[in-house]
Amino acid sequence: MPEEKKPAQDAGEAAPRPDGDHRALAEASPDDVSGYAVLEDGVPVTEVRADGIFSAARWARDHGYRILSLLSAYDDGKTEFGVLYAFVKPANTPGDFAEMRLKVRMPRKDEAGNDLEPECQSIVDVFSAADWQEREMYDLYGIVFHGHPALRRIFMPEGWSGFPHRKDYREPEQFIAMRDGEDIVLKTQEDGSW
């Protein structure tokens, strides 16, 4: 995202260079990797193209990053959606611990200015833990994870319109909850309450 400047650049130093497993990943699959940055907490993140995240995740898994720690999406409201992945190595001693972060950025508009729906590869086949996490991000942000076996809404009931965590989300006028064939209609009141 544009607001997120690389801190090293802010300080006027040279751009950070990937090292360790990040460099190894960039060398192993240069097509998938699109960038590199260091977050404010000092942990580097490799930016991966949306159609390369599966192989990158598989690479991470094969290199010992067994636990899917974080799968988080965001919407900056202006230009892009993003998904941040964090994989960690299960550790028995402090030395074993290592973290690998990957990020997928999906633009809201293509070059021609047309709206794009965010799409990304699913990593369920390598990390089962991504199952619900991807469903959650689909539910809240509408990010379509290709290859997910059952990409359904997880929090919202089926039939809910819109993806509520998007910045441009507007609440629907009414919500009809079904109950044994009888409808309970919850309407928006004048004061905005239900």
Binding site: M1, E3, E4, K5, P7, L39, E40, D41, G42, V43, A50, D51, F54, S55, R58, R61, D62, R66, I67, L68, S69, L70, S72, A73, Y74, D76, G77, L84, A86, P90, A91, N92, T93, P94, F97, R101, L116, E119, C120, Q121, D125, V126, F127, S128, A129, D131, W132, Q133, E136, H146, G147, P149, R153, I154, F155, M156, P157, P164, H165, K167
Partner: protein, 403 residues
């Protein structure tokens, strides 16, 4: 997206996605049972769609979202500090840890990884509060887990100790359940002025291991209980890792992965404690691990109190840069993720700010949400009663699952 590949067609799965203990039966003879959202053992408003062949669970699908309160979306419309009370209400059984995770993440944005925003004294108070909270969480878990197993009294034993511990936290911050205690740069209040406070806590802590021993005498030697827990809800180490399970459930499968130890935050690096593990990755192992963790928490708090009393710890309980009304004007910029060892597993906060008063995104990595996914793997092929035991052994809080 251009050229998105359907990976399932092209790339063969590289591993067995979970041991499928599915029982081969004629589908027409299965009974579908909806447990919840109101059910005494679903710990809130979880719904389990269970397929049953007689008493045997063929498949179970957890359906969540009945407590989705959209805290994360609300965070985007409030000042950074105002989200702290909402973290309390996510996992309301260990609210201190939720505070801690969020505050750590924002402090990364405010100070960066190296800059010391929090004074040594505040760090000690934080660890004190967090470990007391862990104690309360495990106590309550034990009580309700035993209630799931049909034993009625352990809950009251556990609540007895929990009330005492909550009393100390209440003196610290004024609340019983939703503490709202941590602030960027420290904690809201210093330790109470009452000179008997720490001695009283120490007396309680000195008693606590014998109380844990009492629970063990009551439960560990109970053949019925052990018979029901052993071998129930088994998970192989591969499954545990693959499903992203963390916390006591991971440690019950023999991996000593405790973020306090392997990726220390706060002052845990300087404290002396063990990481209990168990080899049998079943409900019994999880119970034993949590018992041992209670004792370790007691050890940690004792050390922290010793250090507070003996050393003259530097600094105030709250960084003056963030005291008073200044905390409302916190503007954070950048992106960070911080993780802490929550009683239920890895708890983390992914925060993004653009230098304004409100965050752009706060994502909570909820341990209950990640851990609950594995329930079908645990329950398949076992009995209904085992399904309840497996669910209880995960230690979920629906506020944490649905957020």
């Amino acid at each position: 997206m251009v050229g998105a590949r359907d990976v399932r067609d092209q790339i063969p799965a590289t591993f067995d996605a979970g041991r499928l203990k599915t029982v081969k039966v004629d589908d027409r003879h299965l009974m579908e049972l909806n447990m919840g959202p109101q059910h005494p053992s679903t710990h809130g408003v979880l719904r389990l769609k269970v397929k049953l062949d007689g008493e045997i669970v063929v498949d179970v699908e957890p359906i969540i979202g009945y407590l989705h309160r959209s805290s994360e979306k609300l965070a985007e419309n409030m000042n950074w500090v105002k989200f702290i009370p909402l973290t309390d209400r996510m996992d309301y059984l260990s609210a201190m840890h939720n505070n801690h995770g969020y505050v750590l993440a924002v402090e990364q944005l405010l100070g960066g990884p190296d800059e010391q925003v929090v004074s040594e004294r505040a760090e000690h108070i934080r660890v004190f509060a967090a470990e007391m909270s862990r104690l309360c969480n495990h106590l309550f878990w034990m009580g309700t887990f035993m209630l799931d197993m049909g034993a009625l009294t352990p809950l009251f034993y556990a609540l007895r100790e929990r009330e005492t511990a909550l009393g100390f936290l209440e003196e610290l911050c004024g609340a019983r359940l939703t503490f709202n205690y941590f602030r960027f740069g420290g904690v809201k209040f210093d330790l109470p002025d009452d000179p008997t406070y720490l001695p009283r806590v120490k007396t309680f802590l000195a008693d606590m291991p014998s109380k844990v021993d009492e629970y063990q005498r009551l439960l560990k030697r109970n053949d019925i209980l052990v018979g029901r827990l052993r071998g129930t809800g088994p998970l192989s180490r591969d499954e545990v890792l693959d499903w992203g399970i963390t916390g006591p459930m991971l440690r019950a499968s023999g991996v000593a992965h405790d973020l306090r130890k392997v990726a220390p935050y706060s002052i845990y690096k300087e404290l002396d404690f063990d990481v209990p593990t168990a080899t049998e990755s079943d409900c019994y192992g999880r119970l034993v691990v949590r018992w041992a963790e209670m004792v370790q928490s007691v050890r940690i708090v004792q050390q922290v109190i010793d250090r507070i009393e003996k050393r003259d710890l530097e600094g105030l309980h709250l960084n003056p840069d963030y005291a008073g009304g200044k905390i409302l004007r916190v503007k954070a910029k950048g992106e960070a993720y911080s993780r802490i060892e929550h009683p239920k597993g890895e708890y983390g906060c992914h925060v993004i700010g653009d230098g304004k008063l409100q965050p752009i995104r706060v994502k909570v990595r909820a341990p209950s949400f990640a851990n609950l996914q594995v329930l079908p793997i645990m329950a398949r092929g076992q009995k209904i009663a085992d399904l309840i035991a497996s669910l209880g052994s995960i230690d979920i809080v629906l506020g944490d699952v649905d957020r």
